[in-house]
C-alpha cells in the first residue's frame, strides 16, 4: 500500500485528526450518557416501542414506495438523452438539497386541508409520515440506481435483444441484476434517510404519539420536557446511531461478486 501514499505534506495529519475527533467525539459522548442499567426498559417502554414501531414501519413503507416509483424514474433518467437527463436529475436533486422543513411546508400546501389535494385528508395522519419520508428519501434511491444503470450502458441490453429477449425479460434478467449494487446501496440509503426524517414529518404529519411521532420526533419532544423520558430519548438516539452504522456496513459490505 505504500505506493498509494503519494506525497501529501505530513503536517496535514494534525488538522486531519482534529476533523476525525470532531466527528467521533460527540458520538462517544452520546454513548457515554446511555444508562445501560435501564437501557432495555427504556427502549421497551410503551411510548418508545410505539415510536420505534412507527419509525420502522413507516420507513419500510416509504422505502417500498421509493422502490416502486424510484426505480422506474431512475431507468427513465438513465435512458434519456444527455440534456433531458440533466434536467430530470436536477429536478430529483432539489428535494435532496432542500431543507426538509421546506419540503414539509411544500407537502402541506399540496396535501393540507387548503391544498390542491386537500380532499385526500392526508395531513397529520400516519400515511402522511410515509409521504414525508418518501419525499425526502426518494432522491437517494433514484440517484444511486440511475448512476448504476447509466454506467452499465445499453450494450448488454442490445446483446440481449439480439438474442431474442423481449423488453421485460431484458429488464428482469439483465438491466436490474447489473444495477443490483446501485439498487442495494440506494435502498439502504433510502431506508436510513426515511427513519431519520424529522423536519418534513414534523411540519406535514405533526407530532402525535402513536400516530405520527417517529423516533426523531420522540427524541426531540423528550428533550423539550414532554413525552418519553430523556433516558428513553438517549436510548432511542443510540438505536438510530446503531441503525446508521449497520446501514453503512451493509452499503460498504456489499461487494458485488458478479458485476465488474
Amino acid at each position: 500500500m505504500s505506493s498509494a501514499r503519494g506525497y501529501v505534506p505530513r503536517s496535514l495529519a494534525f488538522p486531519a485528526f482534529v476533523g476525525l475527533a470532531f466527528l467521533i467525539l460527540p458520538l462517544l459522548a452520546l454513548i457515554a450518557r446511555v444508562e445501560w442499567s435501564t437501557f432495555v426498559a427504556d427502549v421497551t417502554s410503551p411510548a418508545a416501542l410505539e415510536a420505534l414501531g412507527l419509525s420502522f414501519g413507516s420507513g419500510a413503507a416509504a422505502t417500498a414506495a421509493c422502490i416502486v416509483i424510484g426505480v422506474p424514474l431512475a431507468l427513465l433518467i438513465a435512458r434519456s438523452g444527455p440534456r433531458l437527463a440533466a434536467v430530470l436529475r436536477a429536478a430529483v436533486t432539489v428535494p435532496l438539497v432542500l431543507p426538509p422543513m421546506v419540503g414539509g411546508i411544500a407537502l402541506l400546501y399540496l396535501f393540507g386541508r387548503q391544498g390542491w389535494l386537500g380532499g385526500w385528508g392526508l395531513s397529520f395522519t400516519t400515511p402522511a409520515v410515509v409521504v414525508a419520508q418518501t419525499f425526502v428519501a426518494l432522491p437517494f434511491l433514484v440517484l444511486a440506481v440511475e448512476g448504476a444503470v447509466r454506467s452499465t450502458g445499453v450494450d448488454f441490453e442490445r446483446t440481449a435483444a439480439a438474442l431474442g429477449a423481449g423488453r421485460w425479460t431484458i429488464l428482469r434478467r439483465i438491466t436490474l441484476p447489473l444495477a443490483a449494487p446501485g439498487i442495494v446501496a440506494g435502498v439502504v440509503l433510502c431506508f436510513a434517510r426515511a427513519i431519520g426524517e424529522f423536519g418534513a414529518t414534523a411540519l406535514f404529519a405533526g407530532n402525535r404519539p402513536g400516530v405520527t411521532q417517529t423516533m426523531p420526533l420522540a427524541i426531540y419532544t423528550a428533550f423539550n420536557g414532554a413525552g418519553v423520558t430523556q433516558g428513553t430519548a438517549v436510548a432511542l438516539a443510540l438505536l438510530l446511531l446503531a441503525t446508521a452504522v449497520l446501514v453503512l456496513m451493509l452499503v460498504r459490505g456489499w461487494r458485488p461478486g458478479a458485476a465488474r
Binding site: 446483446t159 435483444a161 439480439a162 431474442g164 429477449a165 439483465i174 447489473l178 458478479a258
Partner: protein, 346 residues
C-alpha cells in the same frame, strides 16, 4: 428465397452508406473496407440498431425492414440477427452456461432443457465442463468461445461478425478462427474484417466497401487477386499501378512500360488497366532495362523474412536484411512480366 438480401441506405453526417448485399442460406460473406467506410453502420442497420433511410432487409425470406410503403421495422429482438463483436460482451452476472442458455430461455425453452443444451454448446466450442465459470474467470479467448456458443444457441437466421478476432493474441485468434469455421457451417454469416486471411479462411465471397459503396465483390480469392482499388491491393498485399494498354504492352502516366503476353493486353490500345504484382516478385536491379523503372526509396522496414522497401513506385520484399538502401535513394525496380496481372480499371 432464404439467406440474406439487403439494400442498406443510411445517411451519415459526412456521406451516405448505400450498400447492396446478399448471402445465400448458409453462406458466409466477408466485408472489407477502410476505417469509416460504413462497415459498422451496415452491420448496425442489419441488426436493427440503426434505422434505414432507404432500402430493405430480407432475412430468411421475411422482410424485416423496408422504408418504402408498406413500411416495415422489426425490432432487433424479433429479427433473428445476432452480432458477434470484438468484445464478447458476456453478461457479467451470469455464468458461462447461463450466458449460452440466455437466448433459448428468452425464446421459451424450459430452463433445465436450455442449460443442458448450453452445456452441449460449450462442448462444441471446446469449453466442456466450464459452464459454471463466471465470465471474469475466463480468458479472452474462452470468453469469445462462450460468445460464439451463445450466439449460435439462439438459433439465429443470420450471424454478423464484427472483427471478433481483433482483440486476441495470434495463437488464440487462430484457434477461434478454426472454431468459427467449424461452427458457422450452414449458418448465414456476414463477417466484417480487416484481415484478408480471415476473409479467405471464413468466407466464400467478399464485398469491398469504400466511402459507403460497394467497389468490388466476388469470390474472395478472385477479388484479392484482381484488386480494383488501392485499398484492396493493400489488404491483398499487392502492388497496383494504374495505366493503359499500349502496343501489346502496358504503360502508365509516368512512362513506365511493361511487356507481357497476358491476354488482357491483346485488346486495343488505350484500355485502362492496372498492373498488379506481388512485392516479392519485384527485384532491385542495377540500372535501366526491359520491364524496369526507377523509383525513390521512401522507407525501409525489417520484416520476418528480410526487408520491405517502400518506394514511390511500388513495394518490394527483399531477402537481404543487410541491404544498404535508405530513404531518398533512387533504385531500379524490375518485375518478371509473367508475374504481373493486368486488371481492367473500373
Amino acid at each position: 428465397m432464404s439467406g440474406l438480401q439487403a439494400r442498406v441506405v443510411v445517411d451519415r453526417a459526412r456521406f451516405r452508406v448505400d450498400v447492396a448485399l446478399d448471402a445465400a442460406a448458409g453462406e458466409t460473406v466477408a466485408i472489407m473496407g477502410p476505417s469509416g467506410a460504413g462497415k459498422s453502420t451496415l452491420l448496425d442497420a442489419l441488426a436493427g440498431l440503426v434505422p434505414l433511410n432507404g432500402g430493405e432487409v430480407v432475412v430468411a425470406g421475411r422482410t424485416v425492414e423496408r422504408v418504402a410503403a408498406p413500411r416495415v421495422h422489426t425490432p432487433p429482438m424479433q429479427r433473428g440477427v445476432v452480432l458477434l463483436g470484438q468484445d464478447p460482451r458476456l453478461f457479467p452476472h451470469l455464468n458461462a452456461r447461463e450466458n449460452v442458455a440466455f437466448g433459448p430461455r428468452a425464446a421459451g425453452t424450459p430452463a433445465a432443457q436450455a442449460r443442458a443444451d448450453a452445456d452441449a454448446w460449450l462442448d462444441r466450442v471446446g469449453l466442456g465442463g466450464l459452464g459454471s465459470r463466471m465470465p471474469r474467470e475466463l480468458s479472452g479467448g474462452e470468453q469469445q468461445r462462450v460468445a460464439i456458443a451463445r450466439a449460435l444457441a439462439a438459433s439465429p437466421r443470420v450471424v454478423l461478425l464484427d472483427e471478433p478476432l481483433v482483440a486476441l493474441d495470434p495463437v488464440t485468434a487462430s484457434e477461434i478462427r478454426g472454431t468459427l469455421r467449424e461452427q458457422l457451417v450452414g449458418v448465414t454469416t456476414v463477417a466484417v474484417t480487416h484481415d484478408a486471411g480471415d476473409a479467405v479462411a471464413l468466407a466464400e465471397r467478399l464485398f469491398v466497401i469504400e466511402a459507403g459503396a460497394v467497389v468490388q465483390s466476388g469470390p474472395v480469392r478472385e477479388v484479392l487477386a484482381a484488386p480494383a482499388s488501392a485499398f484492396v491491393a493493400s489488404v491483398a498485399d499487392m502492388n497496383r499501378m494504374p495505366g493503359v494498354s499500349a502496343g501489346g504492352g502496358w504503360t502508365d502516366a509516368a512512362g513506365r512500360v511493361l511487356t507481357s503476353a497476358d491476354a488482357a493486353l491483346a485488346l486495343a490500345d488505350g484500355v485502362a488497366l492496372a498492373a498488379v504484382f506481388r512485392p516479392r516478385d519485384v527485384r532491385i536491379v542495377d540500372g535501366p532495362g526491359a520491364n524496369a523503372w526507377p523509383a525513390e526509396v521512401v522507407r525501409v522496414e525489417p520484416t520476418l523474412l528480410g526487408i520491405r522497401v517502400h518506394t514511390t513506385a511500388g513495394v518490394i520484399d527483399a531477402a537481404e536484411p543487410g541491404a544498404a538502401w535508405s530513404s531518398g535513394d533512387t533504385v531500379w525496380l524490375h518485375v518478371d512480366p509473367s508475374r504481373v496481372r493486368f486488371v481492367p480499371l473500373g
